[in-house]
């Protein structure tokens, strides 16, 4: 598995080994292996019910797997709750769950991690830091970072959520359908942002239904089929048709990666 890794030498940031999770008779995840490397966008694709959500919930610490091991930088870790994951530097961005509409961009980016001076909110420092982060991510379409996020477009909101993760020093950002419900230009904006996030050395695990978006931005592809890892490898080794075959049949008739 590690032979075809593109992320340079050394151990992957996150490694899943034989992760299994069942709900009664349903095998949501069946001995799933996956490596996620820093500085790369890993796209997790699969049909409905393939286990994508189960897998990201495992990595986000929302539940523990029944079997298997999670390694963070080579060390085995247990993720009992989202706090455990967050402490390692794993941040999950759920669409529309992340932001408070009545708070402005700075307030949202620092929510739960406010800077204070003498116990009082230090608005100036937060604004300066937030502005710096947004600039690094080249988020330039917002008119003012002091506007409530209710006034932002879907793409801008997604950008704020990403900036919030960067602000929290996330090393692995999990994005659940980051481009769903976005228009063309906003999708463009968010994909660019994901790319820049990875270029800054952050590992991105992106779940998406939209294969066009996946091919635009992903370095690696991992295809789940009925809870099993059907295939994973460099995105360049796949084409649209092969991915669809793996998604719908779990295997491929012709030649393919692996």
């Amino acid at each position: 598995m590690t032979a075809d890794r593109r992320g340079g030498p050394g151990v992957p940031l996150l490694r899943l080994e034989g992760i299994s999770k069942r709900f009664g008779a349903v095998r949501a995840l069946d001995r799933v292996d996956l490596d996620i490397a820093e500085g790369q966008v890993t796209a997790l694709v699969g049909d409905n019910g393939a286990g994508k959500s189960s897998l990201i919930k495992t990595v986000a610490g929302l539940w523990a797997p029944d079997a298997g091991r999670i390694r963070w930088q080579g060390e085995p870790v247990t993720l009992r709750n989202p706090k455990d994951a967050e402490q390692l530097g794993i941040t999950t961005i759920y669409q529309d769950l992340a932001l408070c509409d009545n708070l402005d961009i700075v307030q949202n980016m620092f929510l739960g991690h406010e800077l204070r001076r003498h116990g009082i909110l230090d608005e100036s420092s937060m604004e300066i830091a937030a502005r710096g982060t947004l600039r690094e991510l080249a988020v330039t379409t917002v008119r003012s970072i002091r506007q409530p996020v209710a006034s932002l477009s879907g793409g801008q909101r997604q950008s704020v959520a990403v900036a919030k993760a960067v602000m929290a020093k996330a090393r692995l950002v999990i994005m659940d359908e980051p481009t769903a419900a976005l228009g063309v230009s906003q999708t463009e904006q968010v994909l660019g942002l994901i790319r820049r996030l990875a270029d800054q050395g952050v590992a991105v695990l992106m779940v998406s239904h939209n294969l066009n978006d996946v091919f635009r931005v992903a370095d690696r592809l991992a295809v789940l089929y009925l809870g099993r890892m059907a295939v994973d490898g460099p995105a360049a080794d796949f084409d649209l048709q092969s991915v669809v075959e793996y998604m719908t049949a779990g295997t491929r008739s012709g030649p393919g990666p692996s």
């Binding site: 408070c100 009545n102 506007q147």
Partner: protein
């Protein structure tokens, strides 16, 4: 880029560098339905004009001071409700919690207890804060709806109020007189005219110093800040309103003996409004209350202890209600078991909502309770002067409430569809 052409609904002070830009952003914001306190100020102006035309006594110094002391209870009750509303909750118990707090203070002041005023007041407020903490704990730990818990409070604390009077042999007919001059003079006593002026100068001076310093510092750091002209204009408006208030209160309104000066309750209420505004705007707890009111799930995921912040909110609501009870009994010179806490809580919600707080959570500031409380007091005071019956007064207040909420809703709906 379509993003750039989206309407700017941010506060004008954050997107504007010059006065012109500021006014343009302000206008866009109003057109977008975020009109702030403008409708309520306009409504208040209309109410004042109507009553003044009908009854010239309305704007006499004596009546204005009377109106301000009437408003004090409504404002404090509204402030209490703001905490619940911002959290997207409701507190139906504030009226009787106020009465219980007032009763405890009055009984501790009366013989045979004869507590010093400050300890009696502290004990009363501590008791109301504890009531709020209890209700908040029930709501957050047992996951009960605040509507039900505080409805039980509305009934239960009335029972406690009657019981407190029953066990007190000094409470004849359920009435306890305020025997302490400090508590009595909170509403019925006045600052000397000179003290009023000195207080005004100090307060406006501090306000000016703080806002100018902040604006200048933020500009120097390259952060968004309102144009200096707007800051200066705001200070001027605050100054003018303050001067008008002190001038009116310092007019001799006595008929036989001279009676003049700002009632102590005015700076008291303003201090509470300021303190709570600071809490909402400058502390983490206040920030979290807004976050929880808008999106509790996001707040939870951000690592906020949602149950704890909610409990604090209910505690602050009951504590503020206790202050309202203090002002209530000070004004009447007594407190009795017949306090209509059921109606008071409706005024509390009305004051907050008329002022601009949202019933749907996440939106509301202490200044909204201040404005809403003054509007309710103005309606009651004016209709009373015109000799309108209690029935008419209630109906009129209902209409004002409906009008305020509809204006708000209409303006906002237009903003959303635009």
């Amino acid at each position: 880029m379509s993003e750039l052409e989206e309407p700017i609904v941010a506060m004008p002070e954050v997107v504007a560098d010059s006065l012109g830009e500021y006014l343009r952003a302000w206008w866009v914001r109003i057109k977008n339905g975020d009109s702030g306190v403008l409708p309520i100020l306009a409504g208040l102006a209309i109410i004042i004009v109507i009553f003044q035309v009908q009854e010239p006594v309305f704007l006499s110094a004596g009546n204005i001071v009377n109106l301000l002391t009437q408003a004090a209870v409504f404002v404090l009750l509204g402030l209490a409700e703001i905490f619940a509303l911002v959290l997207s909750e409701i507190d139906l118990s504030t009226g009787f919690v106020a009465a219980v707090g007032g009763m405890i203070i009055a009984e501790l002041l009366a013989s045979p207890n004869n507590w010093p005023w400050w300890s009696a007041v502290l004990a009363g407020l501590a008791a109301t804060a504890a009531i709020g903490a209890l209700q908040g704990t029930l709501i957050t730990r047992l996951r009960l709806p605040s509507f039900i818990v505080t409805l039980a409070g509305l009934l239960g604390w009335e029972g406690v109020l009657i019981w407190l009077a029953d066990i007190d042999k000094g409470a004849v007919g359920g009435v306890v007189r305020i025997s302490n001059s400090v508590v009595y003079n909170l509403v019925n006593g006045n600052m000397s005219p000179l003290a009023g002026w000195i207080t005004l100068v100090v307060v406006v001076g501090l306000y000016a110093a703080v806002t100018v310093t902040r604006t200048v510092r933020r500009r120097r750091q390259g952060l968004s800040a309102p144009p200096l002209s707007i800051t200066v204009a705001t200070i001027a408006v605050v100054g003018v309103v303050g001067v008008a208030l002190v001038v009116v209160c310092n007019v001799n309104r006595g008929s036989l003996v001279p009676l003049q000066g700002v009632p102590w309750v005015v700076p008291f209420v303003l201090a509470v409004v300021l303190a709570w505004s600071w809490l909402f705007a400058r502390t983490r707890t206040g920030r979290y209350m807004y976050a929880i009111g808008a999106n509790p799930e996001a707040a939870r995921r951000a690592g906020i202890n949602v149950a704890r912040v909610r409990t604090i909110g209910f505690m602050m609501a009951s504590l503020t209600a206790g202050m309202a009870g203090l002002v209530y009994e000070s004004r009447l010179g007594s407190i009795a078991t017949d306090v209509d806490g059921g109606t008071l809580v409706l005024y509390a919600v009305a004051a907050a909502v008329i002022g601009g707080a949202s019933l749907f959570g996440g939106r509301g500031k202490p200044v909204h309770a201040l404005l809403g409380g003054v509007v309710i007091a103005a309606v009651y005071n004016g209709l009373g002067l015109l000799g309108v019956s209690a029935a008419g007064q209630d109906m009129a207040t209902a209409l004002v409430l409906l009008a305020a909420v509809s204006v708000d809703s209409l303006v906002r709906r237009r903003g959303r569809s635009a």
